[in-house]
Symmetry: C2
Subunit: 538 residues, 2 copies
């Protein structure tokens, strides 16, 4: 992973040719290039840990204190993280990156850190976009990044029960490779798939692009093991229970603040025999939402179901070169001939055996046609699939060219979806317009549930001058978060709380009583407060 | 509800004629009748609360201190409860039955009880079979039964989101009537359906007879409101979230120890256009389990799916008069002609439109035939449906005739199901045989999940002499609970923890760390410990 951005240079591709002209025209983005500083120009504080403590850590785990390791582990991949890193400011970078070989090593490191009051930031794939990896030093003798990379084994597949038990540090592609060799898949494909760790997914309650069909990670977990400063917490796999509160649901989403997940047992499925993706255009966001709601509530939703609003549709098509935005282009003429005006893009996909896919496609097609939609075919769907993990690379290119680019997401009931959509888009546009940087704000519905859906927003604007970018984004983020809370959405559907959402999380926890409960749990299991301080709790 | 047993005299029916001869022959059950004492012979301690406190309660809620109310609220409907009540020993019966008119009244009563250190036992339908209503007086100035009967309104139906918001005290049939008038159903039908409250279902994580298709109660809840001594806890409805731990999952299963649920928002569905139940016979429990597993893992399970083991099948058929247990009877000849030897009964059911049911039936029938099964037709299925809520009445009749009768349940992975089945059945038989009262032990699989299933055991034996019945049952229960824990099952799949399972719940909570967390939550929200003391926590 590049310390200042996403992935590797090899895989980064190029900015679509249509992007800069579009951004120049619509947002006044200038032409200057703002690359990251060189690694040896990064301002890195000296290691705050003395050799005696480092030696004690070295007796328990691999320990790195070099520049590359400390900077790479200093932040996640949110816009604020990237702006800081590119400017050479990995604020509070960990003093040591510690890599235990096994769960006992994790437990031993936690015990040492608790005794020495060293803050521990668990590190899986390093992909947090909510400040989940932000080092918080205040009140601690140092900060240790606890990298779970060595816990990467597939421990067991239970063929009859359809579960796999894996260590927490295994990353997305490797997990699918290991499971695939046994004929199984987890089917969990967040946009960050190429780098996420399974422990990180569980700790942050992630959702994947096929989660409408396959279920969010929290619907796939049946058992968890966790190391805490108070000892092991071992929630054995079980299909269901009435034995009190489900404490898996307390550990899931705890973001390293209650313990470090070392092992997960997850529902797996047979590798699907085939897949099919296709795109549709529906005349309006409202019509598309209603078609998806109808399918989901009838138990007939596609496994992948994404509906872009009109603005997101317009940028997506313009960026892809499929349209120049006028009715004179090929796509416009095709849709016009089918009576589809304006238009919102739908991507639908199915995994499974060809007969089942065929039956399910027919049903979804009927609903989309009833909504006034027209099919754009499998090539357009495949094109989405090919680009499904490209977003973070695209953002790095945009940052290179002085563009602010970030995403945020929420979820709500079907009844409340339109009001929430409007409120958040307006808040983002208003906040950025007020600072003199008009924004493009697009949104898509990406995860369907019987009682509601998620809304995923993308925001693009000309970046403020160097040094003022973070303030610019935080103003927009604050406006969006306030709007989400006021409109009754959850503050995050699948990105977690981290540092970024903790001042807005109280309503999601049910108010002050819920916050007090969570604080009491934290105090019980982590009395010295070393586990990922500053995250999650308001 | 009869204070000493289930339901009403009108609805009690009669003991099937085949029952007593069977029990006499197999278990040596004698002929004596052991009826309950008369209500005015019940030994009831004086009300421990003074008039000043009672007056303060009366200012907040309806208050009853009469014999009928206190005895009816003194216990649930487990075997131990019934034995005590029938003998006129409602140990520790509440001093007052308090019925607030609304959620504010609930909050006010809790505040008063916390200030006065009065134990509060929330009371919904009064159907707990795990001691969830057992009054615990030690350390308190008195015991108040907090009856939620007046919180019985359907507050809102959100048609688009497919949810209904209801007050916690509404009971099963009334809820279905209110929803049905709007064209909806919750589809939650535990055996106790006729008396359960929805708040009680949520607080105990109940499962219904159609939960394989409709989902357990914990899969239907999207939002909850709760009164606690520390204030309101309001978990707004949302379809999904990554905003930290899901605290709904902490409240569900908390059994009144963390707060009193006052309102729930639940997923509802359109009232199904039709239903269909049918019975099958498969040659063995193993063959039946495999067929159900295959269907469930393929997403093709019936909405109701129950598989009895050979012993349960034998008693059920004998009780129903369908067979005399020999190959000479009609059923035996029918099955013999189809090559089905021995045999385990399967009941399957579907809810929905007739075409969909027809497709799903075909698929299930194919799997059951592959397992060597033979269809017994719709009449046998209908017969199960007609008797689906009769179990508790049957038990009252058995107790009248000196029979010990109780149930217990667990769940585990498919891989572990056979070992757990054998271990629990052996433990129950062994413990009762050792006391000189051989037992009939039957089991059925009643709830299917992708990764496992529930096992529901019924135990019948000659009751020990009056005064020794409880000790007899507790010995069997202890053996079964030890076997469940040793074999890796959950201590309860849908009956909750109460007082009965709390010494065996630690493994379900993940060990001492989980217990400490739950204790800390309890202390944070209920510092004086007045909320349903003695339940849930070991």
């Amino acid at each position: 992973m590049r310390w200042w951005g996403w992935g590797t240079d090899d895989a980064a591709g190029v900015l679509p040719p249509a992007a800069l002209p579009l951004l120049r025209e619509e947002l006044g983005v200038g032409g200057e290039v703002r690359g990251p500083v060189a690694l040896d120009e990064v301002a890195l504080a000296p290691v705050a840990l003395g050799e005696p403590v480092l030696d004690r850590l070295r007796a328990l785990a691999g320990v790195r204190t070099d520049r590359q390791a400390r900077v790479l582990h200093a932040a996640g991949k949110g816009y604020v993280d990237l702006v800081r890193l590119r400017a050479g400011r990995p604020d509070g970078a960990p003093d040591a990156v510690v890599t235990p070989a096994d769960p006992d090593g994790v437990a031993a490191v936690l015990a040492l850190c608790a005794a020495e009051r060293l803050a521990v930031v668990p590190f899986g794939g390093g992909t947090s976009v909510v400040g989940g990896l932000t080092p918080v030093r205040e009140g601690f003798g140092g900060v240790v990044s606890l990298d779970l990379a060595s816990l990467d084994a597939l421990l067991r597949v239970d063929e009859r029960s359809g579960t796999a038990t894996v260590q927490a540090g295994v990353q997305g592609p490797e997990l699918e490779r290991l499971l695939g060799a046994r004929g199984h898949t987890l089917g969990h494909f967040p946009q960050s798939f190429e780098y996420v760790s399974i422990g990180g997914c569980v700790a942050t309650r992630s959702a994947g692009q096929a989660s409408t069909g396959m279920g969010r990670i929290d619907a796939l977990v049946t058992g968890l093991r966790c190391a805490t400063p108070s000892g092991a917490w071992d929630l054995a796999a079980r299909p269901a229970s009435a034995a009190g509160p489900d404490l898996r649901e307390l550990l899931m989403g705890s973001e390293g603040t209650l313990g470090v997940i070392t092992e997960a047992t997850l529902r797996v499925r047979p590798v699907p025999a085939s897949d099919r993706y296709e795109a549709w255009m529906v005349p309006s966001f409202a019509a598309g939402v209603e078609a998806l709601r109808e399918l989901e509530q009838a138990g007939a939703a596609p496994d992948v179901a994404r509906l872009s609003d009109a603005d997101e549709t317009r940028f997506s098509l313009a960026l892809s070169g499929a349209t120049d935005g006028t009715k004179g282009d090929l796509l416009g003429r095709y849709l016009g001939a089918r009576g589809v005006e304006g238009g919102c893009l739908v991507v639908v996909g199915w995994l499974g055996d060809p007969d089942a896919i065929s039956r399910r496609r027919e049903r979804a097609g009927a609903a989309l046609r009833r909504a006034g939609g027209a099919g754009l075919g499998a090539a357009a769907g495949r094109s989405w699939e090919h680009g499904r993990y490209h977003g973070p690379y695209l953002r790095d290119h945009l940052l290179d060219h002085g563009v602010m680019a970030e995403t945020l997401e929420t979820a709500t009931t079907w009844e409340n979806a339109f009001a929430l959509h409007a409120a958040v888009a307006d808040a983002l546009r208003g906040a950025l317009q007020a600072r003199g940087t008009p924004a493009l704000v697009g949104c898509h519905v990406s995860h369907l549930y019987p009682t509601g859906a998620s809304l995923y927003f993308t925001v693009v604007a000309a970046a403020a001058p160097p040094g003022a970018e973070i303030e610019q984004w935080l103003a927009a983020k604050q406006a969006a978060s306030d709007a989400i809370v006021a409109a009754g959405g959850t503050i995050t559907h699948h990105h977690a709380v981290g540092t970024v959402h903790r001042q807005h999380v109280e309503p999601d926890l049910g108010g002050p009583v819920g916050v007090a409960m969570l604080r009491s749990v934290k105090a019980a299991v982590d009395p010295t407060g070393v586990l990922n301080p500053g995250k999650l709790l308001p």
